[in-house]
Amino acid sequence: MSAAPILEVRGLSKRFRGLQAVDGVSFSVPKGSIVALIGPNGAGKTTTFNLIAGAIRPDSGSVLLDGADVTGLRPDQACHAGIGRTFQLVKPFGALSVLQNVMVGALHATGNMREAREASWAILERLGLAERAETPAKSLTLPERKRLETARALATRPKILLLDEVMAGLRPTEIDQMVRAFADLTRETGISILLTEHVMRAVMALSHHIVVLHHGQKICEGAPEQVSRDPQVLECYLGHAPAGA
């Protein structure tokens, strides 16, 4: 944890009507590391993502990317600053082919069509989508669409990649494949990743650091083995369940 943070979130808060969705959350993502943001449903993970990526503005708090303040930027400006994000509810460009989907992202990094096409092919190969390149995105399966989300975001050449439950619905062997792909990605390109995931198998295998949210607040953070033994975390995940539940 000695590396300088690529992303720093300070006291981020967002209130929707009566609900305090995110409540003074602070954490940081060191350069080149993989940090997981976990918590039960409704903990504020996706809202935190939206606040970082500019989809919604925070009520208070700030977001720093590589030391620069990126709080409240528009989504396209956040992308320009170096934040690549995926959507939990996938948003493929249905009528475009898988390759064209990724090229839309790649064209953010280069105006040259040939370069964009080659970069997109490399990303599709890395994420195991190459054989689907010419398929219209609307005919992909859900796990494939999730991978396409990742491929597209990656193509914008972000400094940090925000992955919102991209492994949901994958089979265990596919999860292991994705885990390997992401581990290789950070090792080879030095990209940093912030992810939310319900698949604990992936979280434990990938993350260098875990931040746990509950009711919009950070209740714990630390190394995976540390977090998995934290009594507060166990309580919010398992609850005060009656015996036998």
Binding site: R85, P92, F93, L96, V104, R114, W121, A155
Partner: protein, 332 residues
């Protein structure tokens, strides 16, 4: 496939396109005056449809007021010609500029305040109607009395002043139609075309990928309006008379969108195919029903045929036909 850029056409598609162009070039030599005049209507319809296709088919923003840009292009070039004897070759670019500015303003106003979907469509109608009423009182261009161009001397064509036979207009419109076909193909295979289609498919995802959605939409509208206005300029010099009620009519706006929808929204060749089908369908219905003295019979048949096409091929005829005859293109 990997190395081949989509800008290059396959031999089969190139051959089909060359065949189409060859037939279109030769047609006036073998067809009679009536057929040529119908083909001029087809090409106007195809050209306007293609221009509208840029904002609605490629970018996904439904404009129902494109008669506005036809009218602005027509009136600008015609008025400059009538009052200042300015060549239409200067007047039409002026009309394009006027339309581009009008389109950008309408788009900017709508998209800045996040007006989209049907509300954007309503706004485009409102602006078109607003300008129509404005022109009803615009004395300099004849108001409701209309604006007239001096009648052409048909003895020989004068392309420099756009005075001449339907055949001359036929070739100009053919060039325009093929020009926009090429332009659309080129743009769809460039960054801007990818961005437009991404916006059409999912605006939020497009924005997350760094696309300045507002700027891209305004650009598409400006280009679409300018191209439409260029066609409007030719229309003014072809018809020789302009009235606000016809130039800016809502009916024209609807006519403009029908051919691309029937042919295949967002495709490259759909608007051209749709224009051929609809115009020839309309002409056939007119001829078929001319012996009958039943009011509205033509419209009834026309409507039934449209209904049938839309019900059977909701994404248009071209996407289906293209698969049948094995051609590819860069539109959807």
């Amino acid at each position: 496939m990997r190395g081949a850029g989509p800008v290059a056409l396959s031999p089969r598609t190139a051959l089909a396109l060359a065949g189409f162009v060859a037939i279109m070039v030769v047609l006036p030599f073998i067809a009679n005056d009536y057929i040529v005049s119908v083909l001029v209507v087809v090409l106007f319809s195809a050209y306007f449809g293609q221009s509208w296709n840029i904002i609605t088919g490629f970018t996904g923003q439904l404009s129902l007021g494109h008669a506005l840009y036809v009218g602005l292009g027509a009136y600008t070039s015609a008025a400059l010609f009538v009052h200042f004897d300015l060549s239409p070759w200067l007047g039409m670019p002026a009309g394009m500029a006027v339309a581009a500015i009008a389109g950008s303003l309408i788009a900017a106003l709508s998209f800045r305040f996040r007006v989209g979907g049907v509300y954007f469509a309503l706004l485009t109608i409102a602006f078109s109607e607003f300008v129509r009423i404005l022109f009803d009182h615009f004395k300099w261009v004849g108001a409701t009395e209309g604006l007239f161009l001096p009648v052409a001397n048909l003895a020989h064509d004068d392309p420099l002043h756009l005075r001449g036979s339907p055949t001359m207009f036929y070739y100009f419109l053919l060039a325009l139609t093929l020009g926009v076909l090429g332009l659309s193909h080129l743009l769809l295979n460039r960054r801007v075309g990818y961005y437009w289609q991404a916006i059409r498919e999912d605006e939020e995802a497009a924005q997350a990928l760094g696309i300045d959605v507002f700027r891209c939409k305004v650009m598409a509208m400006a280009l679409s309006a300018a191209l439409t206005a260029l066609g409007g300029g030719f229309l003014a010099f072809y018809d020789n008379n302009l009235y606000p009620d016809t130039a800016f009519s809502l009916g024209r706006s609807i006519e403009i969108i029908t051919a691309p929808i029937i042919g295949g929204l967002g495709t490259l060749f759909g608007p051209i195919l749709g224009a051929f089908l609809l115009t020839s369908l309309g002409e056939t219905m007119t001829n078929l029903t001319s012996g009958w003295e039943i009011a509205g019979l033509k419209q009834w048949f026309y409507g039934a045929a449209l209904l049938l096409i839309v019900a059977l091929l909701p994404s248009g005829i071209w996407p289906w036909l293209r698969r049948v005859i094995g051609l590819e293109e860069s539109g959807r």
